[in-house]
C-alpha cells in the first residue's frame, strides 16, 4: 500500500479528532478552535478491539468516538460505519482532521544488528528506539553468541523489521557483510504472515552497499539510508528513523490484523505511540530550554525519554507495564520490592494473584483503595527499572578517541556511566493511563519522586488525561494547534520537589526552606531528615525559595551550600523531600508502615480510611 499524502489548509480547520489505539484502551480526544484558540473538548475511551472475536481496531475506535459523541452531542461518525464525517459541516457535525497513533498488536517490534556491540549496534538501537520501536534483540559480531545461536534467535524472533548498521564510511566492509550473511542464512520471517518480504533498513558503511544489495536484495525488502555512524564521532539517526516510520505504515500497519480499516480512516500516516509521546517531550525541552526526563507508563511497556543538553534518547522496556506485562514487573523487581511500598500487610500469594489477574484481564480498573495502592507500588518499580534501563543507553558515544587531560595520550573512551545528572534535571513529566488518571494528582507526584529520585530542584508535571501521543501526531499537521492545546489543556503542573542528596548520620533538622510567596507572605519550613513536608502553592503560581541544607546534604551547590530557585506550584505544591538520596526504606514492616504513612499524609496523597488498615 502507499502512504496517503494530503494537503491541508490548517488555518481553515475548526475541529480535529485524534485517537490512540493502545494495547489495552483506545482513546479518542476531540479538539476545537474556541474564540480563535485550539482547546481540548472531550475524551472517550473503550477497550481496544485488536483481539478476537473482533480483530478490527475500528470497533474499539467507534466505541471510543461514540462516547465523545454522547458526551458532547457532536456527530463524528458516518452512519454506515465507514469512517469519520470529513470535513466539519458546522452545527456540531464532522471533523476537519483525523489522526492516530498506535501501539496495539505489540507496537513496532524490531531486531537491530550492528558490528560492534557498544558502537554501531548501540547507535542502531538508539535509532530504532527513537523511532518508537520495541527492540527485541541487538545482534553484534562481538556480542558473545556464536553464529548458530544468533541464527537460531533470529528465526525465533519474527520481527516486524530489521535495522542493520555497521562500519564507518570508508572503513572495512567485511564485518557488516558478515552480519548480512547471517541474516540471509537465518531467513527471519515477518510477524504477520508469509505473504510479504521482511523489511530491512541498511544504515551502515556506504562502501558495503553493493555487497549488501547482493546479499539481501532478493530475499528482503531492502531500504538503504545514510550511515548511522559515518565517522566514529558522529551519530546520525534521522534517516534511519524516517525510513522506519515509513515502513511501519507501509508494511507493519498494512499487515497487522485488524488494522486495515484504520489506515483508510486516517488522513496522515499512523505513528507509533511512543514516537508521538517523544515528540512532545522534545517540544517541552526546546520550548523552555531545559533538561527533561519523561516517562510513558503504559499497559505493556514503559517508555523513558530524556532530553539532556539537547540530546534526545528514548528507551522502551518492552516487558514492563501496568497490565499485560504487570507480572513481569513482579518478576524483574521481585515481590519484596513491590510490597515495600504498601503501608499494610498483605499475603504474598494474594499480591501475586492480584497482579496475575490484572495480566489476564488487562482492561480492569482498581475499585478499592488497597487495589489502587498495589498498582501504584508496581508503577514505582516499573518506572525505577525502566529508568535503570534508560541510563544504560543515555551515555556518550563509545569508541570515540578522546584526549586525556594529564598527558598527550589517546585512549579508547569507556563511557559506561550515564551522562544524566539528576541535579541538572529541571523537569520530570509523566504520561500513560495510570499517571494521567491518579484520583489525586499528589499520587502521581509521589510516584514520580519515589521512582526517579530527583535531586536538587525539579519541577513535576503530568499529562492531564493522556493526550501527549495525540498532540505529537497532531503536531505533524498542525503544530500551532498542538502547542496551544498542550499549554492550556495537556500539562498538569504537579508542583516542584526540593530533594536532598546524601544522608545524615543522625536524626534532626536536614534543611530550612524559606519561600517568598506570590501574595507577599514568607513561609519558612525546617524539615527533619527522613521526612517530607510541603508548602501549598497553586498551579498558576510561582514562588522564589531559599534552600539551606545542613552539611550532610547537597541541593546542587555542594554539601551544606545554600541555593535559591524559582519554583512552580501544583497539586502537591512545593515538596521538600528530606529523605535523602539514594532513598532508603526501613526493612522492618512496622517502621516502614510508619514512614510510608508519614509521607502519604505529608502530601495528603490517599484518603485516611486506607491509612487505618494494617492488614488486608
Amino acid at each position: 500500500m502507499s502512504v496517503k499524502v494530503m494537503k491541508f489548509d490548517v488555518e481553515k480547520m475548526q475541529v480535529a479528532l485524534a485517537t490512540d489505539v493502545g494495547s489495552t484502551t483506545t482513546k479518542a480526544r476531540l479538539f476545537k478552535k474556541v474564540d480563535g484558540v485550539w482547546r481540548f473538548i472531550c475524551a472517550g475511551e473503550a477497550p481496544t478491539t485488536v483481539e478476537k472475536p473482533f480483530e478490527d481496531v475500528t470497533m474499539g475506535l467507534r466505541n471510543a468516538i461514540t462516547e465523545v459523541e454522547e458526551l458532547t452531542g457532536h456527530k463524528l461518525l458516518k452512519s454506515d460505519g465507514s469512517g469519520l464525517i470529513i470535513p466539519y459541516q458546522g452545527n456540531n457535525v464532522g471533523v476537519d482532521l483525523y489522526v492516530s497513533t498506535s501501539s496495539a498488536g505489540g507496537g513496532l517490534q524490531m531486531m537491530v544488528a550492528g558490528v560492534v556491540k557498544t558502537m554501531t549496534a548501540e547507535s542502531a538501537e538508539r535509532a530504532a528506539l527513537g523511532a518508537g520501536a520495541i527492540v527485541m534483540d541487538v545482534m553484534a559480531i562481538d556480542d558473545g553468541r556464536p553464529p548458530h545461536k544468533k541464527i537460531e534467535r533470529m528465526r525465533f524472533l519474527r520481527p516486524d523489521m530489521i535495522l542493520l548498521a555497521g562500519g564507518t564510511d570508508g572503513g572495512t566492509v567485511k564485518h557488516v557483510v558478515e552480519m548480512a550473511e547471517l541474516i540471509k542464512a537465518a531467513e527471519p520471517k515477518p510477524r504477520f504472515g508469509l505473504g510479504y518480504k521482511l523489511p530491512i533498513v541498511y544504515a551502515g558503511n556506504r562502501d558495503a552497499r553493493e555487497h549488501i544489495k547482493k546479499t539481501l536484495g532478493e530475499a528482503f525488502d531492502l531500504t538503504i539510508v545514510e550511515n548511522i555512524r559515518p565517522v566514529l564521532e558522529i551519530e546520525v539517526v534521522e534517516p534511519a528513523r524516517d525510513a522506519i516510520h515509513r515502513l511501519f505504515m507501509e508494511h507493519v500497519m498494512a499487515h497487522a490484523p485488524g488494522y486495515h480499516k484504520l489506515t483508510e480512516w486516517v488522513m496522515v500516516p499512523v505513528m507509533p505511540t511512543p514516537a508521538g509521546e517523544g515528540m512532545m517531550f522534545r517540544t517541552i525541552a526546546k520550548m523552555w530550554n531545559i533538561n527533561v526526563l519523561g516517562v510513558g507508563l503504559g499497559g505493556a511497556t514503559t517508555n523513558v525519554y530524556s532530553v539532556y543538553e539537547g540530546k534526545f534518547v528514548r528507551t522502551v522496556s518492552a516487558n514492563l507495564g501496568m497490565s499485560y506485562s504487570i507480572t513481569n514487573v513482579l518478576k524483574e523487581a521481585g515481590v519484596a520490592n513491590i510490597m515495600r511500598w504498601l503501608p499494610f500487610e498483605m499475603d504474598e500469594r494474594e499480591v501475586r494473584n492480584r497482579l496475575a489477574n490484572k495480566m489476564i484481564r488487562p482492561t480492569t480498573l482498581p475499585q478499592t483503595l488497597d487495589d489502587l495502592l498495589v498498582e501504584h507500588a508496581v508503577a514505582r518499580e516499573a518506572i525505577r527499572l525502566g529508568f535503570e534501563h534508560h541510563k544504560l543507553l543515555a551515555r556518550g558515544l563509545r569508541g570515540v578517541q578522546r584526549k586525556r587531560t594529564i598527558a598527550d595520550i589517546f585512549e579508547q573512551s569507556m563511557e559506561t556511566e550515564t551522562y544524566i545528572n539528576m541535579m541538572n534535571i529541571q523537569l520530570i513529566g509523566g504520561t500513560g493511563g495510570l499517571l494521567s488518571h491518579t484520583p489525586r494528582r499528589q499520587q502521581a507526584a509521589l510516584i514520580l519522586i519515589d521512582a526517579f529520585q530527583p535531586k536538587g530542584v525539579t519541577r513535576l508535571m503530568c499529562d492531564s488525561i493522556f493526550m501527549m501521543p495525540h498532540l505529537g501526531v497532531l503536531s505533524t499537521v498542525h503544530p500551532k494547534a498542538a502547542m496551544e492545546i498542550f499549554e492550556r489543556d495537556c500539562i498538569v503542573k504537579l508542583g516542584t520537589v526540593i530533594a536532598l542528596d546524601g544522608h545524615a548520620k543522625s536524626p534532626g533538622p536536614a534543611v530550612k526552606v524559606t519561600a517568598h510567596m506570590p501574595d507577599g507572605r514568607t513561609v519558612e519550613k525546617v524539615v527533619n531528615y527522613g521526612d517530607i513536608d510541603r508548602i501549598p502553592l497553586r498551579d498558576d503560581e510561582t514562588a522564589t525559595v531559599v534552600i539551606e541544607p545542613t552539611g550532610d546534604f547537597d541541593v546542587g551547590m555542594g554539601p551544606g551550600k545554600k541555593r535559591e530557585a524559582t519554583v512552580w506550584g501544583g497539586a502537591a505544591g512545593i515538596v521538600i523531600d528530606a529523605r535523602g538520596r539514594p532513598l532508603r526504606l526501613p526493612e522492618d514492616f512496622r517502621q516502614r508502615r510508619e514512614a510510608l504513612l508519614k509521607w502519604f499524609r505529608a502530601l495528603n496523597a490517599y484518603p485516611e480510611i486506607i491509612m487505618s488498615k494494617e492488614k488486608i
Binding site: S23, P47, P53, A185, N353, I360, L365
Partner: protein, 384 residues
C-alpha cells in the same frame, strides 16, 4: 443512583470467554514456512491425521575459510574445491591451499553433512547448511477441511462443545474427560490423584495446588482444568516464573488450564456441568495463552460427531451483543471478583468509586440479591 439516564447499550465492556454447548469450532493449521498440503477441501480428518508437511532449513555452519587457509577473502574462490549448492559429507575437504611445493599446506573440511550454501569473497567465510529437518502438522481436531491455504496449511471445522479458559500452560494434547470432584466448589486434593488419571483431562473444581499438579503430571495426566490456581504455584510447578503471558511452549508433559482466574475460585457451574455431561468423551485441548498482540486463550474442544459442523453458524455470524439491563455478567476484579451478576442499570455519567476515580460504572445485582456499583471495565459478558 445519581443518574436516571441510561445509554441504550454500553460501549466499554469486555467480551467474555466463550462457553458453548454446540459450537462450530474453526482451527487454522499453518506450517511455520511454506510446504506441502496433504489433504483436500471437503476431506474428513481425524485429530491425528497429518494435514501438511514441510522441511525446515537445516542449521548452518560458518567456517572462516580464508583465515584457516591464510589467504585474503577475495582470493578464497581460487582455493575452494566445491561449488555453491554441491552436497558435502562431514570431513570432505572443501578448500585447500598449498605453497612451497606442498610444504605449507592447509585445508578446510566440512564439519557436517550438508551442502555448500555460500562462499563469500568479502568476509572469507564458507557457509555449509545441514540437511533439512522434516516437520509434519497434524489436524489437532477431528473435522472437515473447509479451506486450503496453498503451500501453508488448512482450515478445519469441527462441531463441538467448546470451553475457553482464561490462562493455561502446556501445548496441544488429547485425552478423555474425567471429572474428579463432585462440585465446582471442591478443590483437587492430593488424595484424589489416582492412576486412573493417566492420559486423561482431569477436571477439578475451584483450585489445585502445585503439589497436586506435580503429582498429576507424574501419574501421566494429559491435562488438568480447574477454576483457579495460585500464581505462585505456577512458579513452583514450572520451576521458573512467568513474566509475560505468552505460554504454550513450556517443556512439560501435561497441560494446565484455568477457567476463572488466579486464586481459589469455583469453576462457573455452567462450565462444570458441560464437563460433567461430556465425561468419558475425547477432548482436544491447548493451554497456549497470549494476552496481547492477537489474543489467544486456552481452549478445550469436545468434538460432537453427531453434528455436521457445516450445519452450524460461523462465529462471525453469531451476534455479539452489547450490555443492557438484564445482561448476565461476571465481575473480574476485587471486591466482587468472580461473582456472577445481572446488569440493572448503565448510567452514562461518570461516578466516583472508592479510589475516588471518576469512572463509567454499571449497577449490577449479585446472585445473593445485593445491588452494587462497579466500574464497567470490571465486568465481562458471561452466560451463567
Amino acid at each position: 443512583m445519581s443518574s436516571q439516564r441510561s445509554s441504550q447499550s454500553a460501549h466499554a465492556y469486555t467480551p467474555g470467554l466463550r462457553i458453548s454447548e454446540l459450537y462450530r469450532f474453526r482451527k487454522t493449521r499453518r506450517l511455520p514456512i511454506p510446504g506441502e498440503v496433504l489433504v483436500n477441501k471437503g476431506d474428513k480428518v481425524n485429530y491425528y491425521d497429518i494435514v501438511a508437511r514441510t522441511n525446515l532449513p537445516g542449521d548452518i555452519q560458518i567456517i572462516s575459510a580464508a583465515a584457516i587457509l591464510g589467504v585474503e577473502p577475495e582470493e578464497l574462490p581460487l582455493y575452494v574445491k566445491r561449488k555453491v549448492g554441491e552436497p558435502v559429507k562431514k570431513g570432505d575437504v572443501i578448500a585447500s591451499y598449498r605453497a612451497f611445493f606442498g610444504l605449507l599446506k592447509s585445508e578446510v573440511k566440512s564439519p557436517v553433512d550438508g551442502y555448500i550454501e555460500h562462499i563469500s569473497e568479502v568476509t572469507g567465510q564458507i557457509i555449509v547448511r545441514e540437511p533439512p529437518i522434516p516437520v509434519e502438522l497434524d489436524a489437532y481436531i477431528p473435522g472437515i477441511v473447509t479451506e486450503i491455504i496453498p503451500n501453508e496449511g488448512v482450515v478445519i471445522d469441527c462441531a463441538s462443545t467448546f470451553i475457553e479458559g482464561i490462562f493455561g500452560i502446556g501445548g496441544e494434547r488429547h485425552g478423555e474427560i474425567l471429572v474428579a470432584v463432585d462440585s465446582p466448589k471442591d478443590e483437587l486434593t492430593l488424595d484424589m490423584v489416582s492412576p486412573k488419571w493417566k492420559g486423561k483431562l482431569v477436571v477439578g473444581g475451584s483450585y489445585a495446588s502445585a503439589e497436586v499438579l506435580k503429582k498429576a503430571m507424574e501419574i501421566g495426566a494429559a491435562g488438568v482444568v480447574v477454576g483457579g490456581v495460585d500464581f505462585k504455584d505456577i512458579r513452583d510447578f514450572l520451576g521458573y516464573e512467568i513474566g509475560v503471558a505468552i505460554t504454550g511452549r513450556e517443556d512439560i508433559p501435561m497441560t494446565l488450564i484455568i477457567t476463572e482466574g488466579f486464586g481459589k475460585i469455583p469453576m462457573a457451574s455452567r462450565t462444570f456441568n458441560l464437563f460433567k455431561v461430556n465425561e468419558g468423551r475425547l477432548a482436544c485441548f491447548d493451554g497456549a495463552t497470549q494476552i496481547r498482540a492477537g489474543v489467544i486463550r486456552p481452549e478445550i474442544v469436545i468434538p460432537r460427531d453427531d453434528v455436521d459442523p457445516l450445519s452450524l453458524p460461523l462465529e462471525s455470524e453469531v451476534y455479539v451483543g452489547g450490555m443492557q439491563p438484564g445482561t448476565k455478567v461476571r465481575v473480574i476484579r476485587a471486591p466482587y471478583f468472580g461473582q456472577l451478576a445481572k446488569v440493572v442499570n448503565l448510567p452514562i455519567e461518570l461516578q466516583l468509586v472508592e479510589t475516588e476515580s471518576p469512572v463509567r460504572v454499571v449497577e449490577i445485582e449479585l446472585q445473593d440479591g445485593r445491588r452494587v456499583i462497579v466500574p464497567r471495565a470490571n465486568v465481562e459478558l458471561f452466560e451463567w
